[in-house]
Symmetry: C2
Subunit: 251 residues, 2 copies
């Protein structure tokens, strides 16, 4: 794949790449999908290049679908990273030798790259992480236990998480991250995990109910030792409306 | 300037530009700094290219300082625009002829460009808009009366305004946009102008006071016919703190 791109580099936008921070929620952990680079101790965010005849958003969707196998994912551009120093540790000669690319063609890869960051929220259970080849490892990793990342990928990941935290004040969250039916404590746990802090139970209940996106189901959670909590689902129409217009807590 | 860049295009990041949406507040209008393109009926946002040895944020600061003459401006990257169609109406042959650039060199300018959008809030009264040459006109224009813009600059402007409106829920605003001393009604008018809606006086007073960034001065506004309102200034330390940590209205 990378070899094809380098050999046909005139078909790609020069000096510009895409990196995706893909979040999933499982076992009360906020996880990130990461790729172990072959012949290196470092990991990287899933990324790609931009076909010269494709919108940047479309190129980002391609990266995401290719890595997760799921479509219609919540995907949002959040920042573009363009410090000159970010390329200091870019793939070097070893990568070209490993890919069997001649140096002239390889120059495309060693030019300065600016990268556009996207973040995605996906359903952990529906996602089947896909590696590009046998030597590559792709894995869900708890965002608190992220190993060494290449280039400025740690900075990109941190910024994505910071954006997600900020956007909790602007939009609803949970669809794609929780199962179809969930309890209020499960939804609260999702917020607490993203924000990395405990929230007051009553305050949370009041605020989340006020948004008006929850449907209380006529079902209780089974397999629970003590008093069984009610199950809820998202009212998708209202959820999408609030997602579009923003949480109504402004001026 | 543009001629120099095209002639020495190897010194610039290929296919990537910067566009700045520069907002100023005056006469109860939110104004935008726009440039009239010579030999065209269209206007454009102030923009520029990225020196190959410069961070993208530094390149944005250069554009901004060059156009306004003021430094230390509030400047924020908000989105990157990369639809393929955005280049359909890019500068054509006329521009090359006008600049007396040979076609081979000119190809650099007619390649596909992705552009990084920044928005800035500046002090209208301290800003001295600077045109790049005699034929260029640069002017403050009310954001409600923006003329036809080149490329996707209208979309970029709209997105900047939308971002600014959203960020009113996340950060304080007013520093750089209001004079050093101002009244609460003047501050409220700024918010109303940006949001394009009337706000309740008491609610606004309560919310803005709760943020804790205002210092009540021992002075009243002079030259006012009826009851003179109190003057305020921003407590810059607290203002910067809230700007950094965000408005405390989260979960």
């Amino acid at each position: 794949m990378l070899k094809d791109i380098i050999e046909n580099n005139q078909n790609y936008q020069p000096g510009l790449s895409i990196d995706c921070v893909i979040f999933g929620f499982h076992d009360n952990q906020l996880k990130v999908l990461l790729i172990k680079i072959p012949h290196s101790k470092s990991w990287s965010l899933p990324g790609g290049f931009i076909p010269i005849d494709q919108d940047i958003d479309t190129a980002a969707v391609t990266v995401l679908n290719g890595r997760t196998g799921v479509e219609g994912i919540f995907l949002r551009q959040f920042a573009t990273f363009g410090k000159i120093k970010r390329n200091d540790q870019h793939f070097g000669k070893e990568v070209l030798e490993y890919l069997k690319i001649e140096e002239e063609k390889g120059k495309w890869l060693t030019q300065r790259f600016v990268t556009i960051g996207y973040y995605a929220l996906v359903d952990f259970l529906k996602t089947i992480p896909k590696s590009a080849n046998k030597e590559e490892v792709i894995e869900w990793i708890d965002h608190k236990e992220v190993p060494e990342l290449i280039l400025d990928h740690k900075e990109i990941l941190d910024k994505a998480l910071q954006t997600l935290r900020t956007e909790l004040n602007l939009m609803p969250i949970g669809y794609n991250l929780l199962p179809e039916k969930f309890t209020i404590p499960e939804l609260q746990k999702l917020y607490e995990t993203i924000l990395d802090k405990k929230l007051d139970r009553r305050n949370f209940l009041r605020k989340i109910t006020n948004i008006g996106i929850l449907t209380k189901l006529d079902e209780k959670k089974s397999n629970v030792a003590h008093k069984a909590p009610n199950l809820y689902s998202f009212d998708k129409d209202k959820y999408d409306e609030v997602l579009k217009n923003g949480l109504n807590q402004g001026w």
